[in-house]
């Protein structure tokens, strides 16, 4: 147990505000609620023992920690308790698999047509449902068939004194390389020399599935690659808000990683929209946007809100003429990373996301925006509306899509 998180339970005054906001305990009695499972149950977990399996139904969305008026690190306590639980019981094969998107990506990319076919094949999905526990209707992404890293190796970024390092994450690398190309394009359009060092997974899915050892190993490798840049004062930009939060906060707070490398990287990590908005506040952002006359509902992922920076995407998209962005009210799409892929949690996840799906559908728009790839896939699955990272609207707004890009995000 990492002490600072655990000791925050002392601040709990049992007000149950966290429970009124938890999207998951609202839809399932299998999760007793964040107060119950967090600061309350933690007093009963002596010497790193987690007798309560219901902690596994916490999705890790982090909304509880955000709304707690007393500063209890509820979601973090739950994460640690879950890791303890799985350490005692042994992590099932399914969780080990889906927690390693970079491994799956490396395996699936060379055989992507076959892999994609298999992932959509009803009979094989039913088999996976029964044998592995991955729900047959879960929104699994399609392999792009080419990795972003390969494109990056061949791409020459125009040299400039303004440097930025891009941490693209597994989502871009294996499933949505076009998003990565757009991130690079927008940064270069604004005069940045974009460097893409060797990099692998940040370890977040391993953390949320309770395998702290492996998660730490991944994070340490990643920050070892990024730290030299951070120390030179080069900002590190991340387009996936979940991976960004891992580097900014969770690797230290939840996994307890204390390395100097991590500290340097955390301080230098910026969410992509955060980075652009800060540029805009300094008067450095190019605002030569052409009109994009459409309505786009925007959903800020739970972990984006965990950054504590407001919703910079809204301010950025407001710069594009004729673009009408609707800020969606609903809290959570329900996917919570790998949570909604699991057989026993899929229905819960869809019930949680129902309000968001309905709001997206009722907006009448044919495009939605959201900063996290897993949330986008869930929104497409639940609302039937195509969802893009805000960068895609900026890319089009700048007119950088004039030569047709190599496919938009994977469907």
């Amino acid at each position: 147990m990492i002490e600072p998180v655990r000791d925050s339970l002392d601040h709990c005054v049992k007000c149950t505000i966290c429970e009124t906001f938890c999207p998951f305990s609202q839809v399932t009695p299998l999760f007793p609620g964040p107060k119950f499972v967090g600061p309350q149950a933690e007093r009963y977990r002596g010497a790193g023992v987690s007798p309560d399996a219901s902690v596994d139904y916490c999705s890790g969305c982090g909304i509880c920690t955000q709304v707690c008026p007393q500063g209890v690190k509820i979601a973090e306590i739950n994460s640690q308790a879950r890791a303890q639980l799985w350490e005692e019981r042994g992590i099932p094969l399914r969780n080990q698999l889906i927690a390693r998107p970079s491994v799956l990506g490396r395996l699936g990319t060379p055989v992507s047509p076959l892999a994609n076919w298999a992932l959509q094949n009803k009979a094989l999905r039913l088999l996976a449902h029964r044998l592995l526990g991955i729900h047959r209707r879960a929104p699994l992404p399609r392999f792009a068939g080419r990795s972003f890293q390969r494109w990056a190796r061949r791409h020459r970024s125009p040299i400039s004194r303004r440097r930025v390092v891009y941490f693209h994450g597994c989502g871009v690398n294996y499933y949505e390389p076009a998003v990565g190309e757009m991130v690079v394009g927008v940064l270069e359009h604004n005069g940045y020399y974009v460097q893409i060092p060797p990099q692998d997974c940040c370890g977040l899915p391993l953390q949320s599935n309770g395998n702290f050892e492996a998660a730490r190993a991944y994070v340490r490798r990643l920050v070892a690659n990024l730290a030299p840049y951070a120390r030179e004062g080069v900002p590190i930009v991340v387009n996936s808000t979940s991976c960004g939060l891992m580097l900014k906060r969770e690797a230290h707070e939840i996994l307890g990683v204390e390395d100097d490398d991590l500290r340097a990287v955390s301080e230098a990590t910026y969410d992509f929209c955060e980075f652009l908005l800060l540029m805009h506040e300094r008067g450095e952002l190019r605002t030569d946007f052409r009109p994009l006359p459409q309505t786009v509902p925007y959903h800020a992922p739970c972990q984006q809100r965990g950054h504590g920076i407001g919703k910079p995407a809204l301010d950025l998209l407001a710069l594009i003429p004729d673009l009408r962005v609707i800020e969606l009210d609903a809290d959570c799409c329900g996917i919570a990373g790998t949570y909604g892929l699991k057989k026993e949690k899929y229905e819960i996840s869809m019930a949680v996301g129902e309000r968001l799906f309905r709001d997206v559908r009722e907006s009448g728009a044919n495009l939605a925006a959201c900063d996290s790839e897993t949330c986008r896939w869930q929104i497409e699955h639940g609302a039937g509306v195509h969802a893009v990272h805000p960068v895609e609207l900026l890319f089009r707004g700048y007119g950088l899509d004039a030569p047709a890009p190599a496919g938009v995000s994977a469907r």
């Binding site: 000791d7 339970l9 007093r43 010497a47 007798p51």
Partner: protein, 506 residues
């Protein structure tokens, strides 16, 4: 027998098991006295290994017996004696010698290992030793003894105060007791009276015309909101104030002081004692003063002394059995006093042996081998048990006290059984209101349930609610700061602002 603490309950059990017709009278609830106010440490004897070897030997012998016979009341936390930067490292050697000489299993471990087990300990500790200390739940213990006594035919009369001892010349023949709840008086005839009234033993003995000098040694204790340590931690030095930190159930308790007082019913908690405990806590666990303190209370040790002493720490912690036939020429009464909860069974045995001698019979004691109710399978209490019990089907029952995970069903059962219209009694039985919110969320609910289950009229229910709040306040207000102050403000808002309990008719 007189007194419902651990000794008294132990005597009632032992006597009833030996076939004696037994009745126990206690002026309040079981374990309302010293037994319910200690830190919950089941001694290995290490604390006395150097200073009081006789007490140490008794402790380790009883420790092993209780592990076999009262396992359900015990959490096997183990114990550590640590040498902090404020302690003399050389004492550790005398400590080891003392333990070995008194039969206490002791082992020196690496400091790194101690810190691995207990990450909150001061990283500056220089030595660490393990001993078989454990955490003992006094209410479970006392209630188990009482149930066992009842199963063997004893009668337990709570809220019955001894008004006088009946005498026939130089012979005690019984007691006059008053039921404090109804006012009714009762005459109890007995061949032998056992006085196990602990710190009040002197007051009881006086009713028989015997002078027993029991010096109440007040000690305060502070319960911290969560277990900063999961092992009993002792300072490796000569026993002094604030050198024990005990994990007991969901809290940990730091104690204690030792101040001679005149009246065991007048136990004041002073700010300087509190500051002393917090400072000593800080030496064991850096950041102690930022951690959340739930409440503070005082108990009175029954220190028996043949002569006057200046510092009550100088009095032996061994017990004393006084047969007044020999000592004062008064027949029919024996007093058992001194001692500590860890050795309660031995004390009870001594008392019942003496009682049997006065009755002219010889019956063997079996309390060292027969397990208490609920301890039959020998498995220790585990901290997570209430949490695990909520697990298989979450939310199939209403949880009324959420901090302590008490269901409506358990609450109703306890209320049906006790029928005293008093929520504090329920608190002692189930730990109602003993968690971080100190009743903020559960006491309105519990009062509503009490009103229904015990068919109270609104006055009685209101009195139960308000007196519970007053009782909680008693232990809370001297140590209210930081997180607990926030809680208290929220609780004030709930009870006074939202519910308006201050306006209820009583």
């Amino acid at each position: 027998m007189i007194g419902g603490g651990s000794t008294g309950a132990g005597v009632a059990r032992d006597a009833a098991m030996r076939g004696l017709k037994t009745v126990l009278v206690e002026r309040k609830d079981l374990a309302d006295g010293t037994t319910g106010r200690f830190h919950g440490l089941m001694h290995s004897g290490g604390r006395y290994a150097v200073k009081d070897p006789d007490a140490a030997k008794e402790c380790i012998a009883e420790n092993l017996i209780l592990r076999r016979t009262a396992s359900d009341c015990i959490e096997d936390t183990g114990g550590l004696f640590v040498t902090t930067p404020w302690d003399d490292p050389a004492f550790g050697d005398s400590f080891v010698v003392g333990c070995e000489a008194t039969g206490i299993p002791v082992e020196e471990i690496a400091v790194s290992e101690a810190l691995r087990r207990e990450p909150r300990l001061d990283p500056g500790i220089s030595r660490a030793f393990t001993v078989p200390d454990a955490a003992l739940d006094p209410w479970k213990l006392v209630w188990a003894c009482a149930r066992s006594a009842q199963e063997h035919g004893a009668q337990i009369l709570l809220y019955h105060r001894v008004v006088d001892l009946e005498r026939d010349g130089q012979r005690v023949t019984g007691a006059l007791v008053r039921n404090e709840l109804t006012g009714e008086e009762l005459q109890i005839h007995a061949d032998v009276v056992v006085n196990a009234a602990g710190a009040w033993a002197g007051q009881v003995a006086e009713l028989a015309g015997c002078r027993v000098s029991v010096l109440p040694g007040k000690g305060i204790m502070i319960a911290m909101n969560h277990r900063l340590v999961n092992t009993v931690v002792n300072r490796c030095k000569m026993p002094a104030d604030g050198d024990i930190l005990v994990p007991i159930r969901t809290v940990c308790v730091i104690g204690t002081t030792d101040v001679r007082v005149a009246d065991p019913d007048e136990l004041e908690v002073t700010q300087s004692e509190i500051d002393e405990m917090l400072d000593e806590g800080e030496k064991l666990v850096p950041g102690f003063r930022e951690a959340r303190a739930l409440r503070v209370w005082a108990g009175a040790r029954p220190l028996f002394s043949q002569e006057e002493v200046a510092d009550t720490r100088e009095v032996s912690r061994s017990h004393a059995l006084l047969d007044h036939r020999d000592r004062d020429g008064v027949e029919g009464i024996v007093t058992i006093t001194g001692g500590k909860t860890t050795t309660f069974r031995l004390m009870a045995q001594a008392a019942v042996d003496a009682a049997c001698a006065q009755l002219g019979i010889e019956r063997p004691c079996r309390t060292h081998e027969e397990p208490l109710p609920d301890s039959e399978d020998g498995s220790f209490y585990v901290l997570g048990s209430r949490l695990r019990a909520r697990e298989p089907v979450p939310q199939s029952e209403e949880i009324i006290c959420e901090c302590e995970l008490i269901t409506r069903q358990r609450l109703e059962e306890a209320m049906e059984r006790r029928r005293t219209g008093n929520l504090d009694d329920i608190r002692r039985t189930l730990r109602l209101g003993m968690g971080p919110c100190q009743g903020g969320f559960c006491i309105y609910r519990a009062t509503g349930i009490l009103h229904a289950v015990e068919r109270l009229d609104h006055h009685a229910a209101n009195v139960a609610l308000l007196s519970f709040l007053q009782e909680r306040w008693k232990g809370a207000h001297p140590i209210l700061y930081g997180d607990q102050l926030r809680q208290a403000r929220l609780d004030d808002w709930i009870f006074q602002g939202l519910l308006g309990v201050q306006h209820l008719p009583t």
